[in-house]
Symmetry: C2
Subunit: 115 residues, 2 copies
């Protein structure tokens, strides 16, 4: 934290430039939260399953093989971060992807893996 490298002049320019163009701390944290939500196998399975169609908590528990409770905990994270949305229907709560960006990002990531 306190250590300081000897910096060449050419580097100083690049450092200042990079610092200036870096997004706000708050934005960084938001983006980080967003990716963090996608960076977990259980949550990814939920999202890939929702690519097809809306599903309820219980369905998702069946699909993933995890407890209803575990799924509910993860759905909360996805809901809080505006990655999924939901509608209530009687005793069931149906979850679905919140918007097109999610689809697009999942698609690009899958493509990235193939190379």
């Amino acid at each position: 934290m306190t250590e300081i490298c000897k910096v060449y002049e050419e580097h100083l320019d690049k450092i200042l430039e990079a610092k200036k163009k870096l997004p706000e701390e708050e934005t960084i944290l938001e983006v980080s939260d967003f990716f963090d939500a996608l960076g977990n196998p259980t949550r990814l399975k939920i999202l890939f399953a929702l690519l097809e169609d809306e599903l309820c908590t219980c369905d998702l528990s069946n699909i993933t093989g995890l407890s209803v409770s575990a799924i509910s905990h993860q759905l909360r994270i996805l809901k809080d971060r505006k990655i999924v949305t939901y509608r209530k229907d009687g005793k069931n709560v149906f979850y679905s992807l919140d918007d097109e960006h999610i689809r697009e990002i999942l698609k690009v990531a899958l493509k990235h893996m193939e190379e």
Copy 2:
């Protein structure tokens, strides 16, 4: 884990369909690792800084305000997951983004935040 919800017939179809279309476990883990690497403020700062230009470990330490060691640890993760690449030049090691997918995904994520 062992609890099983009562499943309606219409749900059964959707569950089977979703299970069938779910990517391989291994693919899920790869994608998860990929997003997980992006889901951390320090690593995101590194990546946003690299959007501009290649930078060395020491530059990135300056830009983020973290120790050279901390940055090096994070660079290792990004390197292992093929998100950044590097070239050696004397005592310095210069890092840069590995491919266009990273740029694209960072861009879409930022756009997602704005809405």
